[in-house]
């Protein structure tokens, strides 16, 4: 100690050198800080750009035009028998047959004509063809009228003010997603319909309503304005459940065995290397594997969330195993020794003391894995989950698609200017699901940490 002070005091040039180097070091530090701040700003800039683009494109799609129409249930068009009532002495089967016959009659009614007449009555001064009126209203709205009538046949002859969904093309036209100055031959709507839509929009007969169909309907092609995400969401939900039920126990159990019990030898080294490599395998390869093993070999159905869940489980396992092992490795050895020193068996030490400490870590790993799986598209394409499905899957074996795949499908839809905002809306919903998952992870994590 004394030697160093003596020598530095003796040599003044040393001080000069230190001073010079000090300036250099400070400059290096300032430079690095500037680089750091610059990188953070660039990253934040990209995130802001991404989110603002998506929100800007997607938010309008959460509102869609609806047309208020006084619908007249015209008895001249609805020519059906009175709704059958259960009669005395009639068997249940007979009554059902009669009801079905009646419903068939109702279906045969030209409901489009009802809509056309009702809309025409709203604009008596305009000369409109049936096709031009029909272009205004979403085609599936006729089924809504039919269903209303089936429930209450008393509507016959009455006039009911209804909010009918405008067609996708009207949506595009009113929101300005198509160039309004384009010529007639390049517009999606006939000229008369465009004028009618503008007029209705101005006098408030068309208003923007919240697009609840986005959340309550499945995909649809003949009624794109009604296409929703519910089917894809349920498919994703099934897959998420399958991933949680399979990947977490299998992954955590393997991690515990490998980390705490397995002898350290060549075989376990090999397994470790393989697990680490599996985490880096492109996800589409897992899709190929799923197609070959689950669909070709085990003959599981195509497009089924079960198969998707299995594939995503395979994909998530390495993540869960690696993260769980890291969490176990971070537990201080003194904790294990404390338990072992008391005479706890190896598994008692692990399950009573080591594992509870790692719960927050395992939980985070699980949610990260699940979130990754939820957002995965590529492997699902190879097992047929990019199918066009209009029914809700009631079991994991039914055909279904998934949220990211639905985004992929909509992005590729030929009705570009309608589906582009809708795709952005679907992306917002997917991101919201992710956000909720992560929020749950953070809440659960902090709760576990408080307990520990």
């Amino acid at each position: 100690m004394t030697d160093i002070t003596a020598s530095s005091a003796a040599s003044a040039p040393n001080r000069e050198r230190i001073k010079a180097s000090l300036r250099r070091r400070q400059a290096a530090e300032t430079r690095f800080r500037a680089f750091g701040i610059g990188s953070v700003l660039i990253a934040v800039g990209f995130v802001v750009f991404l989110f603002s683009t998506i929100l800007h494109d997607g938010l309008p799609a959460f509102w869609q035009p609806v047309v208020t129409v006084d619908v007249f249930f015209d008895p001249e068009i609805i020519e059906v028998d009175p709704k059958p009532e259960p009669l005395e002495g009639q068997s249940a089967a007979e009554f059902q047959r009669a009801s079905l016959d009646w419903q068939r009659q109702v279906t045969m009614v030209n409901w489009n004509r009802i809509i056309q007449n009702s809309v025409a009555r709203e604009a008596p001064d305009v000369e409109l063809s049936a096709r031009e009126i029909q272009a205004l209203i979403e085609s599936n709205e006729r089924y809504r009228l039919r269903d209303m009538f089936v429930v209450s046949p008393g509507l016959l002859g009455s006039t009911v003010p209804l909010e009918l969904l405008a067609s996708a093309n009207v949506d595009v036209w009113l929101k300005g997603d198509i160039d309004r100055s384009l010529g007639n031959d390049r517009q999606q709507l006939p000229e008369a319909t465009r004028i009618l839509a503008d007029r209705f929009y101005e006098d408030g007969r068309i208003r923007m309503a919240f697009a609840s169909t986005l959340f309550t309907n499945t995909d649809s092609r003949n009624a794109p304005a009604e296409a929703g995400l519910l089917g894809a969401f349920i498919g994703s939900l099934y897959m998420m459940l399958i991933v949680i039920v399979l990947a977490v126990p299998i992954g955590v159990a393997s991690a515990i065995y490998l980390e705490e019990f397995a002898p350290k030898n060549k075989i376990t080294d090999l397994i470790e290397v393989n697990i680490n490599n599996l985490a880096a395998v492109p996800s589409i390869v897992f899709g190929l594997l799923g197609a070959a093993v689950f669909i070709n070999y085990f003959q599981l159905p195509l497009s089924a969330p079960l198969v998707g869940g299995l594939v995503l489980t395979l994909m998530t396992l390495p993540t869960v195993i690696i993260a769980t092992r890291a969490a176990l490795r971070a537990v201080p050895p003194s904790l294990r020794q404390a338990a072992l020193g008391l005479g706890a068996s190896k598994s008692q030490a692990v399950f009573h003391h080591v594992l509870p400490v790692t719960y927050p870590g395992i939980l985070t790993a699980t949610i990260i894995g699940v979130a990754q799986a939820i957002g995965e598209t590529a492997p699902l394409l190879l097992i047929g989950m990019n199918a066009f499905v209009t029914t809700l899957p009631t079991t994991p074996l039914d055909q279904s698609t998934a949220l990211p795949v639905q985004i992929f499908l909509w992005e590729g839809n030929e009705n570009r200017n309608y589906f582009e905002p809708k795709t952005a809306a679907a992306i917002i919903i997917l991101l919201a699901v992710m956000l909720v998952l992560n929020a749950i992870a953070i809440i659960l994590r902090s709760r576990f940490e408080r307990r520990a």
Binding site: P332, A338, G341, G343, A344, P356, V357
Partner: protein
């Protein structure tokens, strides 16, 4: 209690010339015989070790250690860092089993029973030979749960009240009860270092072991906490056989009845503590104890 903190500290710094046990660099005294001085009034032997050698991989850490550990007395292991005293301590409850690549040769018996008998279950052994570690390592659970854990896994308590009684008794024996009686259900990691270490002792006592091994139990504690633990060790001696590894010669002198001096993996000398600290037979012991080691 002859306790003097500044001197003990001074002793520590003076007497820790680090000597790493690398047998390749040292001329091993082949056929070296440990110098033994029996007690004037011999105590019954509880643990008996015979020619124990320990290897970590290809490296030998202990060479032919033989020792008798008497009942209801404190035996202190002293020696410079890396001399193998902790390694030997860990052989006594087979904690070396948990170290990858560790191998133990020779024979260790507890009441004549071979500890390394393959038929013997280490779980049962460790219930009979408890251990307290260098750094206090309570479980991140409540104070009650910390102490209750051992009796619970070994099925020592017949009922809930039984278990509560064991916990209270153990905490009392570890002279911790009065300090924590109002917060038995708070986390044990919230206690001070010294309290934590006494909690660890209570936890070890709760399974009523016959032997308690202590691996430098005070090295992470301040002088006052150390004094309390030493007092406690002195009280526990009446009922338990205690083996303590310590870096502090003062501590060894204060708490132990017998002292064993290890150096470079060899048990150099062992004998009654008073004799070891006043007139050791070996020159090396003398040098270490007087702090002239080198």
């Amino acid at each position: 209690m002859m306790f003097n903190a500044p001197e003990s500290q001074k002793m520590n710094t003076n007497a820790a010339p680090v000597a790493i046990a690398d047998p390749k660099k040292v001329d091993l005294p082949t056929g070296f015989k440990t110098v033994r001085t029996p007690d004037p009034e011999p105590r019954p032997v509880r643990v008996h070790a015979d020619d124990v050698c320990v290897f970590y991989g290809s490296k030998q850490a202990l060479f032919d250690v033989s020792i008798d550990i008497p009942e209801k007395a404190v035996t202190a292991f002293i020696g410079p860092s890396g001399c193998g005293k902790s390694t030997f301590l860990r052989c006594l409850n087979r904690m070396n089993d948990t170290i990858e690549g560790a191998r133990v040769e020779g024979k260790i018996t507890l009441d004549g029973e071979d500890l390394y008998d393959p038929k013997l279950d280490v779980v049962e052994l460790r219930a009979r030979i408890g251990m307290v570690f260098q750094k206090p390592n309570p479980f991140p659970k409540t104070i009650f749960e910390n102490v209750a854990y051992g009796p619970r896994i070994h099925g020592l308590a017949r009922s809930k009240t039984d278990l509560e009684q064991i916990v209270v008794e153990s905490l009392k024996k570890a002279s911790l009860f009065n300090e924590v009686k109002d917060r038995l259900h708070e986390v044990g990691t919230g206690l001070s270092g010294g309290q934590q270490q006494r909690l660890c002792i209570a936890r070890a006592i709760a399974v009523s072991p016959e032997v308690i091994l202590m691996d430098e139990p005070c090295s992470a504690l301040d002088p006052i906490a150390t004094a309390k633990i030493e007092e406690l060790i002195d009280e526990l001696r009446a009922n338990y056989t205690i083996v303590i590894v310590t870096h502090s010669m003062q501590q060894a002198a204060r708490v132990s009845q017998r002292t064993a001096f290890f150096h470079l993996g060899i048990l150099v000398e062992e004998g009654p503590t008073e004799m070891m600290f006043t007139s050791p037979a070996e020159k090396r012991t003398q040098d270490y104890i007087t702090g002239r080691f080198g």
